[in-house]
Each structure stands twice: as structure tokens, then as C-alpha cells.
């Protein structure tokens, strides 16, 4: 039963090898989808190329349903899976700021790495910027520490917060995702370019 690492099936060193291989797959799919190219990513925000939305939600739905079924089959102990802790206000403000940076910079951290290794100069410069921004964040951290911890709610999940079973939440997300895919295809037909 998984997760194997937390069950003590292998060492941290083996974990690093798995990390490397996981990363290879991650980078491969990102590049395949066209996520090394800032303009393709940014056109999402003009409803001209909805690839970001399609890839993200397909990935989320795939992994989410996988986790739920693996748990149902008794293959994985979900209580040992890392749940991103919620700091509501930090994540609302941080998300807005990150979104502004996304529209201006054209990348997010993961995609900028893929852009940079495929020769995209704007991706390389973006990484420099991100490193600089994180350095600045560390320097001003004492001033914004209160915001950083604002809205602390622990490792809470949507099913826990709304008190609805995870199956139903998953079904709602699946339904919403399919709706967005249909909407996305329609938007691309309406606003999209001929094969960007």
C-alpha cells in the first residue's frame, strides 16, 4: 500500500532518483503541450488559446480521480498524502499577485524552466526575475510576516470545509471541467488564431 516512501519502502536517496524521473516526465508533458512558449500560455488570458485551462484541468481531474479510486481499492492511504496547508489570505493575495506576474511575464515558474531549456530567452530572463523576486520576498519577510500567516486553517480540504463527501466534490469538479472544456473549444473557435 502506498505512498511507498512514507511506508518506508525506500530511502531518501532513492526518493531523489524518483524525483528526477518524475521531473523528466513533468517537463516532457509541459513541453509537449506547448507550455515552453510564453505567448501560447499568455493567449489563455485573451480567450484565444485555452490550452492552459485544458491541460491543467485534465491533469487535476486525472490525478484526483486516480487518488480516489486508489484509496477505494485500498492501494493508497490518503491520510499520508501531503495536503497543501491553507493560509486563506496569504493565498488569495499571493494568487492575485502571481496571476498579475503571469500575464506580464508570460510564464509561471515550472513553465519558465521548460521555456529556458528549449532556448526561450524570455524564459531565462523570467527565471532571473523570479529568483530576484523570491530574494526580495525573503528580505521584506519580517515586514509581511503577519500577511504570510493570515487565514491559517491547517491542512483543510474542500470536502472537510463544505462537509460534503469527496466523491461528490470530485464529481462537481469533473462536471465543471467538462463544462470548461466545451466552453474553451467554443472560445477558441470564436477568438482563436489559425494554428498559432
Amino acid at each position: 500500500m502506498g505512498p511507498f516512501y512514507k511506508m518506508g519502502f525506500f530511502s531518501e536517496q532513492t526518493g531523489f532518483v524518483i524525483a528526477l524521473l518524475t521531473g523528466v516526465a513533468f517537463g516532457f508533458w509541459l513541453e509537449r503541450a506547448g507550455f515552453g512558449q510564453s505567448r501560447k500560455l499568455a493567449l489563455q488570458f485573451y480567450f484565444r488559446d485555452m490550452t492552459v485551462l485544458k491541460v491543467m484541468f485534465t491533469a487535476i481531474v486525472t490525478a484526483m480521480i486516480g487518488l480516489l479510486y486508489f484509496s477505494l481499492f485500498g492501494w493508497i492511504d490518503l491520510s499520508l498524502i501531503y495536503i497543501n496547508p491553507t493560509f486563506l489570505w496569504a493565498q488569495i493575495i499571493g494568487g492575485l499577485v502571481l496571476g498579475i506576474g503571469f500575464a506580464i511575464g508570460g510564464y509561471c515558474p515550472g513553465t519558465s524552466v521548460v521555456g529556458a531549456v528549449t532556448g526561450r530567452i524570455d524564459g531565462m530572463i523570467f527565471i532571473l526575475g523570479a529568483l530576484l523576486g523570491m530574494f526580495v520576498f525573503g528580505e521584506i519577510f519580517p515586514l509581511i510576516e503577519n500577511l504570510y500567516t493570515a487565514g491559517a486553517m491547517g491542512n483543510i480540504t474542500l470536502p472537510e470545509y463544505f462537509n460534503i463527501s469527496s466523491g461528490i466534490i470530485a464529481f462537481i469538479i469533473l462536471f465543471a471541467a467538462v463544462g470548461m472544456f466545451v466552453g474553451g473549444e467554443w472560445l477558441e473557435k470564436k477568438f482563436g488564431e489559425e494554428e498559432a
Binding site: L30, A33, Q91, I92
Partner: protein
């Protein structure tokens, strides 16, 4: 070599989802990117000003062996995987990605500025599109979903002001 077309977003999305599922099954955790950048930052700082990193409450979290970390190895993998895919598709070339109405130079200023803003946002939110939106999305984390909606809101709200850069 002619550039091949991109893969169907749904196929790439399933591939990405299965990669994430494998990470959960093997390691009990999802993907990430910005954490590795933070660690690289602290590693650099350690070389020049190790007392400073130790005394700053935020840098200190990462100060011990900053590069000996899961995410750092993962992001090295991302470099390899992205390069391989680009090479196989004939998409390796030095270019600046932008719309037709902006100069190269201005595009690079925007890339730098956007990167700085994003770097700060990612640290404040404790993650980026991969580590918080994708991973938190799949595990149904409340913060992950709130963050994801705010990223799209922030980006769509800003898009009009920077439209000359892209369209």
C-alpha cells in the same frame, strides 16, 4: 528540422495527471517548481552571506543543505524532460516569445518584471501553479483551489493592460 505540432492538450493533461498520481503513490507528494527556485536562491546567498541567511527568519527555513531536496532533483528532471521533448519535436531554438507589436527589448523587461512579481507571489502563497494549484487541486486542498481561482482572476484582470505584448 520542421517544428512538429503540439500534442492534444487533453492527452498531455492525462500524461501530466498520471505523472502527478505516480508521485503521490510513490512519494506521498505532488509536483512543484518555485520551491526549487527558492532553494537555489538560498544556496547562492549561503555562498556570499551565510550569516545573513541564518539570521533571516524566512531564508533560515531553507538554509541547511538547500539543494539536498526532493524538489531540486525534480526540477533538474524538468530541465531534462523539457529539453528532450523540445529536441524530439524540433523546437529547440533561441527566440524571444512575444506578440508582433512589441520590441524584443521591451518584452525582456516585461519578462523580468513579471518574474519578480511572480517570485514574490509564489513565496507569499507557499507555492505556484504546479506546487499549489495543480497538486493542491488534485488533493482538493481548500487553499489550492482558492489560490488557483485568484491566479486566473489576477491574470485576466491584468491581461488588458499588457495586450500589446501578446496580441
Amino acid at each position: 528540422m520542421k517544428e512538429s505540432k503540439f500534442m492534444s492538450p487533453y492527452v498531455a493533461g492525462v500524461g501530466l495527471g498520471l505523472t502527478m498520481l505516480a508521485a503521490f503513490m510513490l512519494m506521498g507528494r505532488g509536483l512543484g517548481a518555485s520551491g526549487a527556485m527558492m532553494r537555489f536562491d538560498v544556496w547562492l546567498l549561503n555562498m556570499f552571506a551565510s550569516t545573513h541567511t541564518a539570521s533571516n527568519a524566512y531564508f533560515a527555513k531553507y538554509a541547511a543543505n538547500p539543494l539536498s531536496n526532493w524538489l531540486v532533483f525534480e526540477i533538474i528532471g524538468v530541465m531534462i524532460g523539457g529539453f528532450l521533448s523540445g529536441a524530439l519535436a524540433g523546437r529547440l531554438k533561441f527566440v524571444i516569445g512575444k506578440g508582433p507589436r512589441i520590441s524584443n527589448r521591451n518584452r525582456l523587461y516585461f519578462a523580468l518584471g513579471g518574474g519578480i512579481i511572480m517570485g514574490m507571489g509564489a513565496r507569499l502563497a507557499r507555492g505556484c501553479t504546479s506546487g499549489l494549484a495543480l497538486t493542491g487541486g488534485a488533493t482538493l486542498s481548500l487553499g489550492g483551489w482558492v489560490f488557483m481561482l485568484c491566479v486566473f482572476a489576477g491574470a485576466y484582470a491584468t491581461a488588458w493592460f499588457v495586450r500589446k505584448q501578446w496580441i
